[in-house]
Symmetry: C2
Subunit: 222 residues, 2 copies
């Protein structure tokens, strides 16, 4: 459902440049629960951004659900993201002036949908119903992370890209979240692509790839 070929990403930095990804090939089937592991700075977030149509590679091709991203206009790419993808960002990226409820509702509204019931279901699923009216600054780190998770799931996307979704969660809460995602993936065929340092997340994955210095080292199928 997502495939990237010979993808390279270089960030220009004044006189030098940072090679974040170097000739990466990766094919992901529909319904996979894929974990991307690797040391800090190895390129996981960069890879997720490319897989999630949030960034363009310096070289190589990215195809999502049959569409070659290089052939799409910026408008068509934005439509693809809104219709088919869900994101959990490493820094959460919640909107500070909106409540938890409003933050989670946002992707639905962007699709032109009005469905408060789905927002309440998402809040319930991540255990934050009593915190619906809190703004991010009034929430703990792990609560903010859970709002970001609920927001990614609320539109029932085809593919969810999750950048370290359990980094700020205790092991019990983190495990419950991964179980929830596993259940969604089995019931709805949703594809999950994680970047993670969490051994528990890796153990629940159907497959794991390792990134080191911008290169894929190995692919382990469970």
């Amino acid at each position: 459902i997502v495939s990237i070929k010979q993808v390279t990403k270089i960030y220009p930095m004044g006189k030098t440049q940072v090679q974040a990804l170097n000739g990466v090939d990766l094919s992901i089937e529909k319904g996979e629960f894929l974990a991307i592991a690797g040391p800090s700075g190895s390129g996981k977030s960069t890879l997720l951004n490319l897989l999630g149509c949030l960034d363009v590679p310096t070289e190589g091709t990215v195809v999502i659900d049959g569409q070659d991203l290089a052939k799409l206009s910026e408008h068509a790419r934005a439509t693809l993201r809104r219709q088919k993808l869900g994101f959990i960002f490493q820094g959460f990226n919640l909107i500070p002036v909106l409540t938890a409820f409003e933050n989670i509702e946002m992707p639905l509204r962007l699709k032109g949908e009005n469905n408060p019931q789905r927002v309440w279901e998402a809040l319930e699923a991540v255990g934050l119903k009593e915190h619906a009216q809190h703004r991010p600054a009034e929430l703990s780190g792990g609560q903010q992370q859970r709002v970001a998770i609920a927001r990614a799931l609320v539109t029932d996307p085809l593919i969810v890209l999750a950048d370290e979704p359990t980094a700020n969660l205790d092991s019990k809460t983190g495990e419950a979240i991964i179980e929830l995602m596993k259940k969604i993936s089995l019931e709805k065929g949703t594809t999950f692509i994680f970047s993670t340092h969490d051994a528990k997340v890796m153990s629940k994955a159907t497959r794991m790839v390792s990134l080191t210095d911008g290169r894929i080292e190995e692919s382990i199928v469970h």
Copy 2:
């Protein structure tokens, strides 16, 4: 070196209130390597903010290095923080317009010191020398976390308060960071107070307290 008695923290939220901490007593000796564990939302960050003189309790007393915080003016509290404490915030809180070098240098400048050598040593210790001129947006999540860590250590503080310092680090990098902190604590007698979900950090602690719903449940000495 830090002691809190019967500390309560209540956040008013419109018509309701959130009881983040409820009658907490805690005494911390100089040189301890203390881990505070507990589920998401249990009050760890709130407790660290009170122990680090960043916030005032609703009830109860906080004494740091012999000084009762309630008796100090805002100016005296700011001086105490600058002179004796180092912080690693859960969200890093780096200054976006400053480079890694400048972010780490900031606490030294706030003390009126000019010591680029110490900044380079701190960058080296967290493995980020080549990234000294990068700004936070040009760094990975774990690299930003390491800048935040270096910044907390650069002034050689009496007490370091670290809110989930390894959340965004792979296990090898995280372990190296905790080893570094252990070494500093043994060589310089620095007191480390962590909030953490990481079992590896907990295993290196000299003592661990568990927080649940704003109450301290148990104290385990290693």
